[in-house]
């Protein structure tokens, strides 16, 4: 702080002397435009500061969105001039037998991941907020998997899911339960992916909810208690309304995050068995980078996913606006 106040002061005298002198010659002649000119100069400086960010955003955030729309109506191999093909790309992906499965899997995955990744963290946060001991340990431990690179979690769980010496089947066997095929069966594969995904992301939600819960004034609970509200009623009438804003926000963030599930099917199942774990993002990747560079079809899928997410965002905006 000291450098902050002391340093600029000596400069100040030098600066004023230097600046006042030349301006006296110019200013009297053109008084009216100075205000506008000052604004112009201000804008120029501001855009000077902004230009690097504008460059990055334009190239890697805004342009790709436009390009996706364009690409989805084109056939291109990145070498020859792209040709316009109308709705052909959309026809290709819709007729792909995996198309329906990919959407169904993505929706089921999102739904299950929301159950595990949205409801559970809130419940965990509510419990943690009540505990007076071991809080630091619990907070640390729940966030630990979030810090790990996802590839670590995914490869670790691939080993756990191993039908032979895998930890999960060993554990089931030890307590006398029937073992599961985990990633190898159409009925369990998708759910196995949800488990990994939940394990590695749960902590972030818990900590965010915990922060929100700590901001609830205790008087509200006291008042509710005096009115004879039991614990469940206190949760329903105080805890949830007080955290509603964050709950709705997190709902959207979760949907956006889970709809783009990729690394789990990519590393664990390769979309199988029998397309049981093909997701839209994974199918898109396959079109562009596995099936020999069908960027148009991939972009068509990406555009569809983008539109779905924008619809989710629109609903979300609507909801929060109504709250206010």
């Amino acid at each position: 702080m000291r450098t902050l106040t002391v340093k600029p002061k000596p400069k100040q005298q030098v600066a004023t002397e230097r600046r006042v002198a030349p301006e006296r010659q110019v200013v009297p002649r053109r008084r009216p435009p100075t205000k506008r000119r000052r604004a112009a100069r201000r804008n120029l400086t501001a855009y000077g500061f902004l230009c690097a960010a504008l460059f990055c955003f334009a190239l890697f955030a805004w342009w790709p969105i436009v390009r996706e729309v364009v690409l989805s109506f084109q056939q291109t191999n990145l070498v020859d001039e792209p040709s316009w093909v109308g709705l052909d790309n959309f026809r290709t992906v819709v007729n792909d037998p995996a198309f329906g499965e990919a959407w169904r899997n993505t929706f089921v995955f999102t739904l299950l991941a929301l159950l595990c990744g949205y409801v559970v963290p809130f419940a965990v946060a509510v419990v943690l907020n009540e505990l007076r001991h071991a809080r630091a340990y619990l907070r640390f431990v729940v966030y630990l998997p979030v810090m790990l690179p996802p590839i670590v979690s995914v490869l670790l769980f691939r080993w756990f899911y191993d039908p032979g010496p895998g930890l999960f089947n060993q554990a089931l066997d030890a307590v006398g339960l029937p073992t599961l095929a985990w990633l190898d069966s159409t009925s369990t594969a998708l759910f196995s992916l949800v488990i990994v995904s939940t394990w590695m992301n749960l902590g972030a939600g818990v900590l965010i909810y915990l922060a929100a819960l700590q901001n609830i004034p205790g008087e509200l609970y006291e008042a509710a208690e005096l009115d004879g509200a039991g614990i469940l009623k206190r949760i329903r009438h105080v805890t949830i309304p007080q955290t509603r804003l964050i709950l709705t926000l997190m709902l959207m963030l979760q949907i956006v995050a889970t709809m783009q599930v990729f690394i789990e099917p990519y590393m664990l199942t390769g979309g199988g068995p029998e397309n049981a774990t093909v997701t839209v993002a994974y199918l898109m990747y396959q079109y562009a980078f596995v099936y020999g560079g069908n960027y148009g079809a991939g972009s068509a899928l990406g555009l569809m996913l983008m539109l779905v997410l924008l619809a989710v965002a629109a609903v979300q905006l609507r909801l929060t606006r109504e709250e206010k």
Binding site: T3, G48, L50, N215, Y285
Partner: protein, 300 residues
């Protein structure tokens, strides 16, 4: 937020009242709940990591044995050296560190100056630009991965080819609407009087930013830095696409590429080594990470 005026220090009163907690039944339930939570958390979040570390130290024969052993019979630490060699972790780690540090410096420079311009210089269309930056948060990067990849292979107008170049990581990381938003919100809270005084004295804007704003903004800079570094360390799909050269790969991608060709205990050893940097970061910067999560949660 309606409750800011009467907010009390945390942990005064929660759903269960202290009175209920002190009652005989209350305290019994409390201790049962605490024990259950600690046990379940340890089992769910710590045990898998324990299994990973001990799995690495088991022999190939022991790791495949049923029923499994809880402790490795003769812990073998040489597997970590093997994994280091096989995965070429030295190169991978060096690459990842280089991308992370570069992304940190570049993203901070770009986002801080953008947030400063939007917050304090307030140019024409500033709000529209901010809205445009925030709008990109609605669209996850994976949705536009194909056009973004094509942009990297041939940057429009400029004609650059950025495959296998660190800029393929650094440019997109800097285009982070959330960071700009966090920084702008913090800068907004710095009183304008402080800057006006400097402005009247003729201090140029870049000096205002450097000597007045940045020193005050240390906490938020810490948060943004951490998030950027962690993001680069954790990212998988994007480096998989844009850094295909095995000499240029990141740790995550390198591990995934070699995992098929080595034994299970070597994979686990590789994963342990890959986890260590992030766990150290977590130990050192726990407080800032928690602060950052809270800052993010107030976004609504």
């Amino acid at each position: 937020m309606p409750n800011t005026t009467d907010r009390r220090p945390a942990a005064t009163r929660t759903i269960v009242s202290p009175l209920e907690l002190r009652s005989r039944r209350g305290s019994r339930i409390y201790w049962a709940l605490l024990t259950a939570t600690v046990t379940v958390f340890t089992l769910v979040f710590v045990f898998p990591l324990y299994w990973m570390v001990t799995g690495a130290m088991k022999t190939g024969e022991e790791i495949a044995r049923t029923p499994p052993t809880l402790f490795p019979e003769s812990p073998d630490f040489s597997v970590f050296a093997d994994a280091w060699e096989l995965f070429d972790i030295g190169t991978l780690l060096r690459n990842t560190l280089f991308y992370a540090v570069g992304a940190w410096l570049f993203a901070l420079a770009v986002d801080v100056s953008a947030a400063y311009a939007l917050s304090k210089l307030r140019p024409m269309f500033g709000n529209a630009i901010l809205a445009g930056m925030l709008a990109t948060l609605m669209i996850p990067p994976i949705v536009v991965m194909i056009p973004a990849y094509i942009t990297v292979t041939d940057v429009p107008i400029l004609g650059w080819h950025l495959l296998n170049s660190p800029w393929a990581i650094w440019f997109p990381v800097a285009a982070n609407g959330f960071n700009v938003f966090l920084l702008k919100r913090f800068f907004d809270s710095i009183p304008n009087e402080l800057l006006e005084a400097a402005e009247i004295d003729g201090v140029p804007p870049w000096r205002v930013l450097w000597s007045i704003i940045l020193p005050i903004s240390r906490p938020i800079l810490g948060v943004v830095s951490l998030f950027t570094v962690v993001l680069v360390f954790k990212d998988f799909v994007w480096p998989l696409l844009v850094l295909p050269d095995s000499e240029k790969m990141t740790l995550s991608v390198g591990l995934s590429q070699t995992a098929g060709a080595v034994t299970q205990n070597q994979i686990m050893a590789g994963l342990v080594i890959a986890s260590i940097p992030m766990i150290i970061v977590f130990f050192l910067f726990q407080r800032s990470i928690m602060a950052g999560l809270t800052a993010g949660s107030l976004k609504g």
